[in-house]
Amino acid sequence: MSFVDSSTLTTLPALDQHQADALDFGVVKVDDDGNVLLYNKWESDMAGVPVASAMGKNFFTQVAPCTNNRLFFGRFKDGVSAGNLDTEFNYTFTYKMKPTNVVIRLLRDGSSTNWVFVAKRTV
């Protein structure tokens, strides 16, 4: 079962900054190129990246360079291209933070909006 609960999924297309900031996992909304449209507090705190600094930047190449490979950005691009982005996998973040094991969910919702969800993973 995904760490992204069903109630969150149903509110997704209209999820605003305030609602995203209330969640206890990372939420990043990106366009089809990966540019950040929404970046929540949890993600900001974990990554050490101020929300304002992330907005408008490319999540994969500028905000979170850990994700700039086929495992992560590649999966995103493939899913967006096919129109069926919905995948969950384990990952490790180390850029400018304590090495952190995470689980990632990439999702394109019913309104063709792309989401990156991040939760800490205990090993």
Partner: protein, 145 residues
Amino acid sequence: MTSPFPPLAERLKSKLDPQDLDSTARNLLADSFSEPIVEEMSAYATGKGDLVAELVDALGEAGDEEELYRTITDLWLELKFEWARHNQVMNYQLIRKGEADPRVMARGGVCSHVIMALESLLRPRDIAGLTSLVAAPLEHCPSED
């Protein structure tokens, strides 16, 4: 006593002091990694500081801040590509074997903090440009032979 080094060289020595890097590495890793790994990464971090000291000794007194600045950007690239390699190794290990080598994780974390220290000496526009280069280096190569 007046330092023989001009301001940029002094700032570089200060920001990447081997003892400070050692402390950074220990604080970063102590609660999540074994003591042997912490000690290994402490030596790794200190080694980066020694590398910088060598650079400053070679270039610092020359008084050519533009050349030193350019060399600092070279070092940033060197470390960023090193970090990118650690990032690839740990995450492909994770996907293929179910776990990443903790040494690689630790080294990646410490390397990124050395990068952070260097970035405090660089202009934001230069960081942005260098980041773009590292994100897609092949795009800067000719597309045809």
